[in-house]
């Protein structure tokens, strides 16, 4: 039995995949529609930047972005920053944020190499939502 199939069976046993999901994956491997590169559950391997916002009433935000995706998007972010109008750029500079000096690629590399665990853990009171808990972490 191939290592991919064994891995799927293990993941079903550990409850990381449902039996139906496992069946789909096994079928896809047999049909050859998965390459080894593509066979990777989001639950295994790879690090994520996770943002969670939970309010007391209805607000619930859950964002999971793979760090590798942020790395490949960093070049696009640099491009996007070049489109910020000069007036807004000057406005941000007055507030202490120099967009030209912002090295997004290095920032992503630093996050990848040295950050692990919670970066932000804040609790604020909102008149509409009540208590809002904000968490940003790399795991």
């Amino acid at each position: 039995m191939s290592s991919e199939k064994m891995k799927i069976l293990e993941m079903i046993q550990e409850g990381k995949l449902t039996a139906a999901e496992g069946m789909d994956l096994l079928k896809a491997i047999e049909e050859g529609s998965y390459t080894e590169e593509e066979f990777k559950s989001p639950l295994q391997g790879g690090r994520f930047l996770r943002v969670r916002v939970v309010g007391e009433k209805t607000l619930r935000v859950n964002v999971n972005v793979p760090l590798s995706l942020i790395r490949s998007a960093s070049k696009l972010i640099v491009y996007a920053l070049s489109f910020v109008p000069s007036e807004k750029r000057a406005e941000l500079e007055q507030k202490g944020l120099d967009l030209q000096a912002l090295d997004v690629e290095s920032l992503v590399r630093i996050i990848e190499e040295s950050v692990d665990g919670k970066i932000v853990d804040v609790e604020v009171a909102d008149p509409l939502e009540g208590r809002i808990k904000v968490e940003v972490c790399v795991e």
Binding site: L59, S68, L69
Partner: protein
Amino acid sequence: MWNKSALMLMVRVELPNRRCLKIPVSVWVVDEFLEALTDLAWLGEMVLRCVPIPSEKSGSYRYVRRIKAVSAKGIIAGVHNMIKDLRKYRGLDVVDVETGDVKVKISLR
């Protein structure tokens, strides 16, 4: 081709009154589209090189300079890399937002 299980980026928006909007975006189709667009972008860049920059007094000066400074091929390559990366994360819920009656979910299926 059609019997392969394609990776889909599912955008699901639930609005008040139980209205639900589901937009499936095939990652494979976007990938192929970008592949095809790369040559066109290269052609566009070549054409743009021939466009003269208007004088500084002209209103279009800033826009033409900005467009010339951006490499369409570079942007496409960046998006292409992101798509390649996405392929590794089948089953991932990228965004899940719930506020009041509105729910937005973006996931890879």
